[in-house]
């Protein structure tokens, strides 16, 4: 009986091998096709990016040539810009003393005068005298008003002393509004 079944077994083995071969062949074809497609796509991308680079290089060359053509104008612009930008910042950052005094004389009460006004980046110190307590109140009120706030902020009365004539000597500090 064993001998009789030999042919079908060989046939079955052969069929299995055929199936395996066809599967491997199919897989191989699929992988080859995928590899081929990948290779083509990769090369296409490479060619695209390489041509893009060439075009960009050409544009760079052209722009560089144009810039070299205007070298003297560039030198003038760079030097002028360098100085003008700094000068502009300096001009804008400096303290406008004329505006400060112009505003101050407009807002202070008539019976107030200053003995010293020191203005620096760190702040302003006012020393002076006022005819009465109402005048000193008027001065503080003026400095803290909308108009006064254009020139000073953080107004602090440091000392206030009156003599027998009720004339008040005051010391006020504030911050400069720039």
């Amino acid at each position: 009986m064993t001998e009789i079944n030999l042919v079908p077994e060989e046939t079955r083995k052969s069929e299995d091998q055929d199936k395996l071969r066809s599967k491997v062949t199919l897989a191989s074809v699929a992988i080859l096709a995928l590899t081929a497609i990948s290779a083509i796509v990769t090369l296409a991308f490479f060619a695209y990016f390489a041509s893009q680079r060439e075009s960009l290089e050409a544009k760079r060359e052209q722009a560089s040539a144009t810039i070299n053509q205007y070298k003297s104008a560039e030198e003038l612009l760079v030097v002028t810009k360098d100085k003008a930008a700094v000068a502009d910042k300096l001009a804008q950052s400096r303290i406008d003393f004329l505006k400060f005094y112009g505003t101050l004389v407009e807002i202070i009460p008539q019976r107030v005068f200053f003995t010293t006004i020191s203005i620096g980046r760190e702040g302003i110190d006012f020393s002076g005298k006022a005819g009465s307590s109402a005048d000193i109140a008027g001065l503080v009120s003026a400095l803290t008003s909308a108009r006064g706030s254009e020139i000073v902020s953080s107004v602090v009365v440091n000392s206030l002393v009156a003599d027998e004539t009720r004339e008040y000597a005051f010391s006020i500090s504030a911050q400069l509004v720039e």
Binding site: I31, T35, S38, T42, K59, S64, L77, K81, A87, S93
Partner: protein, 256 residues
């Protein structure tokens, strides 16, 4: 039926061989595919990624260059030369301390203030000295932008003359700033004021190089153009040249 007499092994050998070859070819194909992927495609993909990054950088460089070329092409050379001359007046390339001194003296004379003391801070003279002067009094933020000749003044004047003097200093064609202004009333009926402050007359060296061709350039802003245009206005006082003096003495120790 005697099957044992059939040449089965030969048939089996041939089948095995053809089976092995039949499987080996597709496996070989797979191996070749893998080799192509590893040795050709993958390095190319890496190259493409690098190329893409480089192209992005190149594109931005090209944009910068084209923008720069466009700005440069639109410039008026004659106007630029005028603006450079004005910029040189705003911020001279050297400290030129004596010219400032002369201007301060002239302004004091015309505004009617009496200068009781003029002190030029050491380091304000010469090419490299001004930066030393700047760092010595580095509290002012302006000095971080540009070095300056620092001149400390003490003066006596009435109120209107003082304002005129300050206005005159701000009218210099050269950018000057005033710092630490202290005004004290003299106490008399004349209304005289004692004032002290520091004048910083700024200067700036010319740039040493233009930088690379890819370094961007910027056009002047409207406020910068206005500032440069105002240098020539009649309200501005141009820097005064130091006048020549008579030279030659018989005895150098005789008082003049």
């Amino acid at each position: 039926m005697d099957l044992s007499t059939l040449a089965m092994p030969k048939v089996k050998d041939g089948q095995d061989l053809s089976g092995i070859i039949g499987v080996a070819i597709p496996i070989g194909g797979i191996v070749i595919s893998i080799l192509i992927a590893v040795l050709i495609i993958w390095p190319k993909v890496t190259e493409i990624l690098e190329l893409r990054t480089n192209n992005e950088q190149l594109r931005s460089t090209v944009q910068t260059l084209e923008q720069k070329a466009e700005i440069l092409a639109g410039l008026d050379q004659i106007k630029l030369e005028d603006q450079l001359a004005a910029a040189e007046q705003l911020l001279p390339s050297d400290s030129n301390a004596f010219s400032v001194l002369r201007q301060v003296e002239d302004t004091a004379n015309t505004s009617g203030v009496l200068l009781s003391k003029i002190e030029v801070i050491t380091g304000s003279f010469g090419e490299g000295g001004a930066s030393a002067g700047a760092s010595a009094s580095g509290a002012s933020p302006e000095l971080n932008l540009a070095p300056a000749v620092e001149i400390r003044l003490s003066l006596t004047s009435d109120y209107q003359s003082l304002l005129g003097f300050i206005s005159g200093l701000y009218s210099f064609s050269r950018v000057a700033s005033i710092d630490s202004l202290s005004v004290s009333a003299g106490g008399g009926d004349e209304g005289l004021l004692s004032t002290s402050f520091a004048v910083n007359a700024h200067w700036k060296q010319l740039p040493q190089n233009l930088g690379s061709i890819e370094a961007p350039v910027e056009n002047l802003t409207s406020s910068e153009e206005e500032l440069l245009a105002n240098v020539k206005s009649p309200q501005r006082t141009e820097s005064a040249p130091v006048p020549p003096v008579a030279t030659g003495r018989g005895n150098p120790f005789n008082p003049y």
